[in-house]
Structure formats: C-alpha cells, structure tokens
Amino acid sequence: MNEHQQIIHVVDDDEAMRDSMTWLLEGEGYAVACYDSAGSFLAARNDRMRGCIVLDVRMPEMSGLELHEKLEALGSRLPIIFVTGHGDVPMAVGALQRGACDFIEKPFNNEDLLTRIRRALELDTQRSARQQRDSAIAQRLEQLTQREREVMQLVVAGKLNKQVADELDISMKTVEAHRARVMEKMGVRTLAELVKAVMSVN
C-alpha cells in the first residue's frame, strides 16, 4: 500500500457496522481502514493520508462532530462523509455548513453511499493533484534569481520588454535573456502558461 493510495477510513464504534462497511467497500475494490473511535483515528492519522473518512456522528467519548473540528484545526483536507442516525439530521446539516463534504442517514441505500464515496475520492484526487502542482511551481519559483523574479513579475503584469528595461534600468537585451531563463526554469513555453502558473500559486 503506497503512500499515495486512496484509503477509505471508517470511524464507527459499532463493530458490525465497521465489518459490514469493510465488506461492502472491499467488494467495490476500495482499500478500507477501520477505527473504533475518534481517538484511535487521531492517533493513526498523518498529513500524507489520502482518500476520505466515513464518520459516524454518534459515538461515545468524542463525537464525529468533535473529531471534524479537531481535523479542521489540524489542517486535514480529507473529505468527510457523516453517517447519522435518526434525529441527528440537524446536527449533520450544521456540520455540512461548516465545510464537511457530505452526509448520509442510516439506514442508507448502499448505492447512495458508494456514489458519495466516489465523489469524495474524486474531490480528494483533485485536491492532491492541485497540491502537487502548486508545490512543483513553488519549487521552480524558488530556483529563480532575484533579478529574474523582478523581470518575471513585470512581464506577468503585462509590461513590454522595453518597459521592463526602463523600469529596472537595464538593457533590452538583458531583459530578453532574463525572460528566456525564466521561461526555461518555470518549464513553460508561452507567456500565457507562465501567467497561469504564477496566478495558481498566488
């Protein structure tokens, strides 16, 4: 199981629920990890985890909502699907408003659950891809020299080479050389690509 594999983390205090959920999800070909309480999940979690969390709202000690708050505070971006019992609907709605991914009410239709899980995993994939891209661009930006960065900022702002040369008090040729190096270092071919890369990290 490599680090980047998506895992469905099931947090539920009821043993039958955990087992049946594992059975169902593994049948669909997902990797499943089970936790019998919010505490044990917190103990196991790390920032590199990917996938989503299927979280029971009603649990002794720490409720699903409390765990959600903790995770938010820790900066976790894993999508959460709340599983609520009867009467917990208002709670779940509150949690959704605070940014949880989704919720489903017991007893639930397994297709509903699977749909929601697929959506959550998709969200997670997007998030992690974006995160990777951002970090790549950030790495490339790091490689730029001070002067190159200045030239790049002016270019991205839409200034012509001539204007850039005037503003930085350097020759047109030097500007062109800097600009070529920036394009090379940032791994882009067109100005439009460069603008897009810079905008995405800012």
């Binding site: 009821d14 039958a16 629920m17 087992d19 049946s20 959920m21 059975w23 169902l24 593994e26 049948g27 669909e28 009603r58 019992g85 009867h86 009467g87 208002p90 017991k106 007893p107 639930f108 239709n109 397994n110």
Partner: protein
C-alpha cells in the same frame, strides 16, 4: 470587695504625698542646740565679767575706804595733838587767853570742821572761846547733858575722849573732842574742840569720793550718825566698813559704792541674750515650720507632678502641645509611641512635622493653620499620619487652647487618638449594618418587630412596608396587620404574660391568608428580647401564594406524571429502539449489498460470502432482540379502562398544554355539551393523545398571526356508542398527500420531532376501538378528529 477597697486605698495613697523622711529631724535639732549652747556661753561670759567687775569695784572700795579712814584718823589725830599742845601749855600756865585766842583761832580757821575750841572748867562752865566770833559756844555757858557726861568721863579717866554726838546750836550733828588738863592730881579743866562730823567728812574726803560712795558714820551700836548723802543705795553688795581708831569713842564708817547705771544694768546683757535666744528660737521654729510646710507643699507638688506625669505617660491618648507659632513644646509617651519618634526628635519642631506623610502635606498644613487661627472644629480633625517606619495610620486630633497660670494663652494642646482600629471597626460596623439592611430589605419575606405589650411597631423591612404601607413604624401592629394576623387563641403563649426567662419563645408558626389581597403567608412569630430589653414579637411573613399555587400544580403534575410515565417511557423507548435498530439494519444492508456486488462481478470466494451472510443473519437476530424488548415493554403497560368524564381529561391535559399556550399566546377554546356521557378509556392514554394533539395544534400555528392563534376543542356524541372529539387549529395546514403519511412512524415535519407522536396516538385510539384522522379545514388549518367509546356500550 476587699480587692476593691484595696484598690481605692491605693489610689488615694497615690495622690497623697509620701510620708516625710525622718532623717532630717536631727538636722533641725542642731540649730536649737547651737542656740542653747551659745546662749549659755554668753550668759557665763557675762556672769564672769560681772563678777570680775564687782571684784574690782570691791577692792577699789576697800582701798578708798582705808584711805578715807586714815585721812580722817590723821585729821583727828592732828586735832588731838593740837589740843594736847594747848593742854600742856595750860598745865604749865604758860598759856594766856590772848595766846590761846590767837592759836586756837588760827587752828579753827585752818580746820573748818572745828567750829570752836573752848576751855571749860571742871564743872562744865565755858571760860574761854576761840575764835571770839564763834556762835557755837559762849563764855559762861554751862555744858549739859551728853556733853557734861562726856566731860566728866574725860576728867575721870584723864584721857582724851570723844563725846557722843549731839545736836549743836545750828541743829547740826556735832561732837566734842575733850582733852582733860590736870596739874598734878588736880583737874584744871578741859579743852574741847567742837567739831562737826559732817564738815569733817566734807573737808577730808574729796568730792569725787563722795560722788562715788555713800558714806555713813555709825556709832558703836551701829546707829547711823551721819551720812554724806540722803540717797541710800539699795544695792549694798559693793560695800565695806571701817572702824576709826578714836579714843573712847569707837566710830565706824560704812561705805557703799553707788552703781554706775540702774540696778537692772548688770542684768541687761543676760536679758538681751535671753531675749535674743528666744527670738532666734522662735524664728528658727517659725523657719522650721515654714520649711516643713514648704517641704509638704513640695511633696504634694512632686506627687501631683509625678501623678500627672504618670497620667500623661500612661495615657493611650497622644498629647502634643504647641506654642502659638506651631512649634512643638511637649509630647507625651503615647504620642511618641504612636508616631514612633522620640520626644527629642519632636520637641522644638515647627510644621511640617516629621510624622506628616508627604502626600498629605497640603491638607495637614491647612489643618494646622486652621487650628492656630483658633477655628479648629470641636469634632477635631481626622487625618492620616505616618509612623517613623513609613507606616500610615488614621488619627483624630482635638485642639484646645493651652492657658498658663496667669490666664494667658501660650499655645494649643492637641490630643490625638489612633482611630485606625475604631475607624476600621466603624467601617466594618457600617458595612455590617449595610449588609444587614440590604439583606433584610432584600428579603421577599416581610419582617417586623412589635412591642409585645402595646403593639408598637419598632422595625419593619421593605417587604413588610410594601404589604402594609410605608408609615407603619410607630403604629400599632395589631391594627396594621389586622387583615393578616393569627388569632390570639392560635398563639402558643400569651405574649403579655411572658417573663424574661421565657425568651425566646415560639408564638406561632403557620399559614395565614391575607384577608384583602388573598395572598397566602407563612407566618413565623416568636417573642424575643429586644435590643432595649423589652419583650417584642418578631414576625416573619413569607408570601407563599406562588409556592402554594406551584405546590398544588406540582402535586397535580406529579400525579399526572406518575400516571403518564408509562406512556412517556414507551415513547422514549420507541425513539431509542429506533436508533438501535438502525445499526443492525444498516449492517445487514451492507453485508447483502457486498454479496450482491461480488456475485454480480463473479469475483468471489464462497467462504467469504458465507461468512458475510452469517454475519448478516447475526445482525438480523440482533434486530429481532431489540424488537422483542420493545414488545415486552408495551405488553407491560396494559390499558386500564374506566368510565371518566371527557371534561376532566381535558382539564388535566390542558394543565400541561396551557403553559405552552400562554408562551405562544394561543387561545384554547373548549366547547363541550352539558350532557356528554362519560367515556370508557384508559385515562392516561387518552390524556396523552389529547395533550399530543393540542401541542401539535399549537405548534402548527407557529407562523399564524397572534390574533388568529386559536385552538378549538369540542366534542359530541355521534351515535349510541361513540363520542367524537375535534381539535381544530388555524395553522399552516397539511398538503393532501401528507394527510395519511403523518401517521406513519418516524414521519415528521418538525425540526425536533421524533415522528412517532401521531403514530402512537392512532395506535392508542385504535386500541380503544376508535378512529383517529385528520382533515384540512375550509378556512385554513387542520382538524384532528377521533372517536372513543362511551359508558353504556362498554365492551368486554
């Protein structure tokens, strides 16, 4: 008692001067002794001097006397010799008359004491007289008397002889010096010299002698013959006597010295000494008395001073005297103790004083200026001053003028009391009082205190005044509280009969209704001893109207709660069971879905599927157990059907629902026919149904305007078996498609609803062979109707 007396004695002893010391007595005796010894010595010296003087005078006298005796003797012997010469010449007849005349006259002229010399015959007849002119004797004159006897005696003895004295012709004392002249054996006659003793003395003795001495001539019989002075000296101590050696006539001379001064003169020194001694003694005595008095006064002064000093030192009040410029002239020990400064550090200091805290300078300077100007307030100054160690404390300073013995003001004296503690206590007391007042006035309970005998209200708190009026203090309690007062026979004791020993004493403890307001009060009344000693009644009246009401409601609710507990429990059970059922049902669904997926994909192991189905079956069993538990629960609560009036059930249901109705401002209108028969139901269950429907109705009108929030409840008998009850609201109504759904369990349109209320209601009604349904009202809102059986046709 003895202790008291001793103390009193000690105190009086303290004020009296201590007894005088005896050690000074001998000192006082010394001057007396000295004076005595001095006086004695002076007297002795004086006596010695006197004695010496007398001795000297005596020996002078003796010398003088002898000298005088000799002189007289010599003179008389001269006369003798002259007469003897004349006699011899006569004897031998050689003497003529003329010769006699010449000789004798000459002699007489030289010796004035001899007045005449005569020649007498043996028979005493004067024959010759010389000098001729003498009147002392005349020729032819016959001697008589003493003179004749003396002549005869002289003739007989034939010796010179002095006659006894006689008075002469001039009445002066005289005597004769007789010299008989014989010729052979015959007598011729005799020469006689007539001499005056007085003149003799005058001539022989100088005037100085006679001035000093009193000279007396005495005869043999010590008869005084002649004296040179008529004044007789009284003091005869310095005197002497001398016998003149004269033939035949022993004459004596007595000499007495005249004293220089008076008779008292010798005593004068002694007397002076005695007087001076007496004066000295008296003066000394006076001095001593004066000194004694002075010492006594001094002792008293010292004692008074010591007493004052002790007083000043033992005072706990600080005393400080300042002069008119504000300079400190005196501080007592307490002042030093309070400020922590020595006397030496304070006396002589002018403001600002060292015990002024810097931050208070301006205020204290103002105070002292006011005081020096004589405007110090009688209540003194309250100020904060500083000890030497910097500690601050509060004092009160009283100023009064310092007047000297002459009535002149010489400064100001200030007494200082440390009021930190009193101030703290005062503040504490004020706070305590404030707290007390706040607490007492903050009480909802009415508290008042009234005199047990005359009923005068002595104290009343705010709550009491709210009930009985704000001018009650001082009025008669029995009148003020007449409308809410335990009757006298209800009291445990008659308050007028109570002794001090009986206090405190419970009088009354019970509930009374205010006759006017209808409020109920719990009255607790006791008799206690008031702060001034009299017996008072303290009455504490707590308004228990609300409590009583709440108690009643609580009692009813309690009753109902007990009755409905079974139902409520059932509802709760249903909810919790529903939740519990979720778990196994979800698990079963998961297992089944997992199996289906795998079998559809054709990708499975038989053992896995078996295990999953096994687990699903276990979960189904778990769900069955839960449902069995619910059924057991319901089974326990068998309905207990009894005939009961619907009105009564409605009243009880409304007791709960009214709270909600009042909160939301909903009007509940009940309209029941008079003759509605009793229904035969389990009252608790039907109550629950009514309550549920009423609450639903109220909640449905949540968005209805206030004026239209009205819930109508009415009932009517629809046939011989059933009564139909209608509960109609003006709420949001129900969509047509929901009309039957709402009775399904767990269906709800409410945010917090469980969705089992109406389901259970319908179950209950159907259990009673009735029917529960809902319809939309024409005018909006919904109406719930249900039927229940009546008494007559009670089945079973």
């Amino acid at each position: 008692m003895a202790e008291h007396r001793r103390q009193a004695k000690n105190q009086s002893m303290f004020i009296r001067p201590p007894p005088r010391q005896p050690r000074q007595t001998w000192l006082w005796l010394a001057p007396y002794a000295a004076i005595g010894i001095f006086a004695l010595a002076m007297l002795i010296v004086t006596a010695l001097l006197q004695w010496r003087e007398q001795d000297t005078a005596l020996s002078a006298l003796e010398g003088d006397m002898h000298w005088a005796g000799r002189t007289i003797e010599t003179r008389l012997h001269g006369h003798q010799d002259f007469l003897t010469e004349l006699g011899r010449e006569q004897e031998f007849r050689q003497l003529t008359y003329e010769a006699f005349q010449v000789k004798a006259s000459r002699y007489v002229r030289d010796n004035p004491e001899i007045s005449a010399i005569i020649w007498v015959s043996t028979d005493g007849k004067v024959e010759w007289v010389a000098p001729n002119e003498s009147t002392a004797a005349f020729v032819g004159e016959q001697l008589t008397g003493t003179r004749l006897i003396a002549l005869q005696e002289a003739l007989r003895t034939r010796r010179l002889l002095f006659s006894a004295d006689y008075r002469g012709a001039d009445q002066r004392r005289a005597n004769d010096l007789i010299l008989p002249v014989q010729q052979g054996s015959s007598d011729l006659g005799a020469f006689i010299a007539l001499q005056s003793l007085e003149t003799l003395l005058r001539v022989t003795l100088p005037a100085t002698f006679t001035a000093r001495y009193s000279l007396t001539v005495v005869d043999a019989d010590n008869r005084e013959l002649l004296s040179n002075s008529s004044v007789k000296p009284t003091d005869r101590r310095i005197s002497g006597s001398f016998n003149l050696d004269l033939p035949n006539n022993p004459l004596g001379l007595n000499i007495v010295a005249y004293r220089g001064g008076g008779a008292w003169l010798p005593y004068l020194p002694a007397a002076l000494i005695v007087i001076l001694t007496l004066i000295a003694t008296a003066t000394l005595f006076q001095l001593r008395r004066h000194a004694w008095r002075r010492a006594e006064t001094e002792e008293q002064l010292r004692a008074a001073y010591a007493f004052r000093q002790a007083m000043s030192q033992s005072l706990v009040t600080g005393l400080r005297a300042i002069d008119l410029e504000g300079r400190i002239t005196f501080v007592n020990a307490a002042f030093c103790r309070m400020t922590g400064f020595d006397e030496a550090e304070l006396v002589g200091v002018a403001p600002p004083y060292p015990y002024w805290p810097p931050e208070e300078f301006a205020r204290l300077q103002n105070n002292i200026d006011t005081a020096l100007a004589g405007h110090a307030p009688a209540s003194g100054f309250e100020m904060r001053i500083m000890r030497k160690n910097g500690e601050r404390f509060d004092v009160r300073l009283y100023f009064s003028p310092l007047i000297d013995a002459g009535g002149k003001q010489i400064g100001w004296i200030a007494s200082m009391n440390d009021i930190t503690e009193p101030k703290r206590i005062r503040v504490e007391l004020e706070r305590a009082h404030e707290r007390f007042a706040t607490v007492i006035d903050g009480l909802d309970t009415a508290v008042h205190v009234a005199d047990a005998l005359n009923g005068e209200i002595l104290f009343a708190n705010r709550a009491f005044q709210h009930i009985f009026g704000f001018d009650t203090v001082g009025r008669d309690s029995s009148l003020v509280t007449a409308v809410c007062r335990p009757p006298p026979e209800a009291l445990n004791r008659d308050p007028a009969d109570l002794d001090a020993a009986d206090l405190p004493c419970e009088l009354f403890d019970g509930e009374i209704q205010h006759a006017l307001s209808g409020h109920w009060y719990h009255l607790h009344e006791r008799a206690i001893r008031w702060v001034d000693g009299r017996t008072v009644r303290v009455q504490i009246a707590a308004d228990i109207t609300d409590k009583k009401h709440i108690d009643e409601v609580n009692l009813q609710q309690q009753k109902r709660l007990e009755q409905t507990s079974r139902l409520i429990t059932m509802g709760e059970m249903a909810s919790s069971l529903a939740h519990e059922l979720n778990q196994p049902l979800s698990a079963i669904a998961n297992y089944c879905a997992g199996c289906i997926k795998r079998m559809q994909a054709g990708n499975y192991k038989f053992e896995d599927l078996l295990s999953a189905m096994q687990k699903a079956s276990d979960q189904a069993e778990r769900a069955g157990k839960i449902i069995r538990r619910m059924r057991d629960m319901v089974k326990k609560s068998d309905p207990n059907r009894q005939p009961v009036a619907l009105a009564q059930l409605l009243d009880e249901a409304r007791a709960f629902a009214d709270i909600e109705a009042q909160r939301t401002g909903t009007q509940i209108v009940v309209d029941l026919p008079e003759n509605l028969p009793k229904i035969v139901v389990d009252r608790i269950m039907i109550e629950q149904v009514l309550l549920n429907l009423i609450k639903n109705g109220i909640e449905a009108m949540h968005d209805t305007p206030f004026e239209r929030r009205r819930l109508d409840i009415n009932a009517r008998q629809i046939d011989e078996r059933l009564v139909q009850v209608e509960i109609a609201d003006n709420g949001h109504g129900l969509p047509v498609e929901d009309v039957e759904k709402i009775f399904t369990p767990f269906y709800t349109t409410k945010q917090e609803g469980m969705g089992i209320g109406l389901a259970i209601c319908r179950s209950i009604i159907e259990f009673h062979h009735g029917h529960l349904w809902v319809e939309a009202r024409h005018e909006g809102g919904t109406v719930f109707r249900f039927t229940v059986p009546i008494e007559e046709i009670a089945d079973e």
